[in-house]
Amino acid sequence: MNIAVLIKQVPDSTEVKINPETGTLIRAGVPSILNPYDHYALEAALELKRKHNFKVTVVSMGPPQAKAVVQLALALGADEGVLLSDMAFAGSDTWATSYALAKGIKKLGKMDIIFAGMQAIDGDTAQTGPAVAQQLGIPQITFCEHVEVDGRRILARKQIDGGHELLEARPSVLITMIMGKDWAPKHPSFPAVHASLKKPFHVWSAADVGAEAQYLGLKGSPTQVNKIYPPPQREKAAMFSGSGQQGVEKILEVLKAEHFIGE
């Protein structure tokens, strides 16, 4: 089988701050990482490669510096890497992005399984994976934690409220992955990084994948970000001291005054 994994470079959210005046993310000096969900999805794909000797191709879209996550995936064991990079892609929402990614995948040829992280930690939309399935006209299974392949059967274990759902699909299918516990995200050794430089790595423009300008960027995006702002800071909690009885009385008093409970 041929497997594609959709990956994204994101700012390390533990270090991101929002500028309260402009409402934009302060990205300066914030390290970039491979989206953790995509990292898990990649490990799932590489596990299938180890078991069945499948070919794994990673596909990403982003500015030139996003090469780093594609090379990381190659160092971890992926066979081929593609970065869709073009000014024409800038400003794309999830739909325009999925259009471009689908074009890139089509150029690579038929993919039996397409993996994606369930969402990226910067946008948190969880739309891009499903939208790629839509663009390609193939079925999708979302929020999976484990995938096995048996012949032509693709078996996915999906997390649902209070249990698991086991689903089966035939190629081609798109699967989005949650961060499960079956594979720990790995980091490549020095020689693995060095060897990854020799693997095929393509940087493709919009023209290279035959993507039309009208479906790309801000122009091709049905949704636009209106505003990003940090949640309002919580007001300071009021602290009361005294005995248990006094405390209870005081709290009752406040709850009544704020009309949380009646008299």
């Binding site: 300066a28 000096g29 090469k67 780093a68 090379q71 990381l72 160092a75 980091h187 490549p188 050794s189 020095f190 020689p191 693995a192 990084v193 060095h194 990854s196 430089l197």
Partner: protein, 546 residues
């Protein structure tokens, strides 16, 4: 030397950081430090090509390595030092022990040994120092006698003692310097050879995770093919050839451990409230314990990168530059660690906080690979020759260049650096005229002044660049302010200390004060407190409290 591309380097550094985060938390470091224990399993994992393969950086691609350049090795050494200087030293010893092979080995020797080091995860040790021979390796006592069979030298009998050998008790392979009939030579000695035994692991002040031991060689038979380069008498040259480079690695250690201490102090200072405000808001705290060190460390970084760039560009030797880098970064790092303990107050004095350990660990960087005093001497010797050769123009010409830079890019400390260089030129000339270098004190002190002035000039040039390198974590405003603070300090200390030096050694100072342009040096100090305010604020912004 080849270099690794920025993305690959970034991935390697990330992997190293992640490994340390997962496998070497502070609690473990603390326990090993207390037990004075070398973590052999961790080192073997770090050498495992499936896990990290960090030692492969030193080994060329054709022998199974990844062909790291000087810049790459500096970056990895800095990161290792931020994790633990003992572990860093264990890795460094392998780098160092591999060096004589890289520099002087024959093709066959490289093929055989470098491949083995790469594949078999060999820990290597570098055996040069002896009880009576440190930086003065000419006093070498270890002897290598010929073993002759059928009129042919088939091997050597090596006898002697080595001291303070990093990885001494745990290495698989040793490069040993011994006096052969044809002169000092390097030999490859394997663990377990008959007559070869390591002594006890030393009980050290710091870097207690690094194994340090003496070595006893009692008539050890070493086959002739283990003579590095297959030629006797090349040992000292082979050792000297890499000093610029190896000292740069130790410089990176001082920088890394010092920067770690700085970050911890800055983060702490935002949480500790005294008299209603955090310590990070108080000049009495920041401008004494933090800001000057931060500026010095960034200055040292610029100099390390400058020197690494020249070595990667194909230059050889650079002993003086290696010494300036080591001296500035290790002394600066050591002082930062000392003040980080002070900055954390009572907490800093306990083992619950890593700065206590950093302070003990970092001291070694001022000692090994040549003490700070040997650095002062080396720096003085190298530049004194330049001063004489150029008839005193060496620093004056550089000062002219810095002033030209100042005209183009004001605000990076270039003028202050020019003042420091001019003052230095004047002091050296006065020392020449009055023959003051007959005093060793004068020569060593000159070494120190030279380092400060040259590093200030280097930092100004770096801060004037359009685009900063990948290691600069501050914005232009902050980095330029740091360059100004450092250059002002360099100008002032060069002038004042230089004057004191000459006055103390000579009968009279002539018109030295005029030649140094003391008035301009004074005028240049204007705005320093405001710059330090800016640096303190930016440090807080960059290293936020966790």
């Amino acid at each position: 030397m080849a270099s690794i591309d920025a993305i690959s380097r970034g991935l390697m550094l990330d992997s190293l950081k992640e490994y340390a985060k997962r496998r070497i938390p502070y609690d473990l470091l603390r326990e090993l430090d207390e037990k004075n224990e070398f973590p052999a399993d961790i080192l073997k994992e770090m050498y495992d090509p499936e896990i990290l393969g960090v030692h492969l950086l030193m080994i060329p691609e054709e022998y199974g390595g990844v062909s790291g350049g000087t810049y790459d090795i500096y970056r990895v050494c800095e990161q290792l030092a931020r994790i633990d200087l003992g572990i860093a030293t264990g890795v460094f010893a392998t780098f160092l022990g591999t060096d004589p092979l890289n520099v002087g080995g024959t093709e066959e020797q490289k093929e055989k040994w470098l491949t083995r080091i790469a594949k078999e995860k060999l820990l290597v040790a570098y055996g040069a120092t002896e009880p009576d021979a440190g930086s003065d390796l000419v006093n070498l006592r270890t002897r290598a006698e010929h073993v002759v069979k059928n009129g042919k030298i088939v091997g050597y009998r090596v006898t002697g003692n080595k001291q303070w050998i990093s990885n001494g008790g745990v290495a698989d392979l040793y490069t040993i310097l011994a006096m052969a009939p044809g002169g000092p030579s390097w030999f490859l000695v394997e663990k377990g050879m008959e007559g070869f035994s390591p002594n006890k692991h030393e009980d050290k002040h710091g870097i207690r995770l690094s194994n340090t031991a003496g070595l006893s060689l009692d008539n050890v038979y070493v086959p002739a093919e283990n003579l590095i380069g297959m030629e006797e008498g090349k040992g000292l040259l082979q050792a000297q050839a890499v000093f610029g480079y190896t000292r740069l690695m130790v410089a990176a250690f001082g920088l890394g451990a010092g920067t770690e201490a700085l970050e911890q102090a800055v983060r702490y200072s935002q949480q500790r409230i005294q008299a209603g405000t955090p310590l990070s808001e108080k000049q009495g705290y920041t401008h004494k314990l933090i800001v000057p060190h931060a500026c010095r460390l960034e200055a040292a970084r610029s100099y390390i990168e400058y020197t690494a760039g020249r070595l990667d560009g194909g230059e050889h030797g650079l002993q003086t530059e290696g010494a300036i880098a080591k001296y500035t970064a290790t002394e600066g790092g050591n002082r930062m660690a000392e003040d980080a303990v002070q900055a954390l107050g009572g907490y800093g004095y306990t083992k619950d906080f890593p700065v206590e350990k950093i302070k003990r660990d970092i001291k070694i960087t001022c000692i090994y690979e040549g003490t700070s005093e040997i650095m002062e001497m080396t720096i003085y010797r190298g530049r004194w020759q330049e001063h004489l050769k150029t008839r005193g123009r060496y620093y004056l010409d550089q000062a002219d260049q810095l002033d030209a830079l100042h005209a183009q890019v004001p605000g990076v400390g270039a003028h202050a650096a020019a003042l420091a260089l001019r003052a230095l030129g004047a002091i050296m000339e006065e020392c020449r005229v009055q023959k003051l270098t007959r005093h060793q004190h004068v020569t060593f002190k000159l070494g120190r002044l030279i380092a400060d002035a040259e590093v200030a000039a280097c930092f100004a040039r770096a801060a004037a660049q359009q685009k900063y390198g990948e290691t600069v974590r501050f914005d232009k405003d902050a980095w330029q302010a740091m360059a100004r603070v450092f250059a002002r300090e360099a100008a002032l200390s060069t002038a004042v200390q230089g004057l004191a030096l000459v006055l103390g050694a000579a009968d009279q100072a002539g018109n030295l004060a005029d030649a140094m342009n003391l008035e301009a040096v004074q005028a240049e100090q204007k705005g320093n407190v405001a710059d330090m305010d800016l640096v303190a604020a930016k440090l807080k912004q960059t290293f936020k409290a966790k």
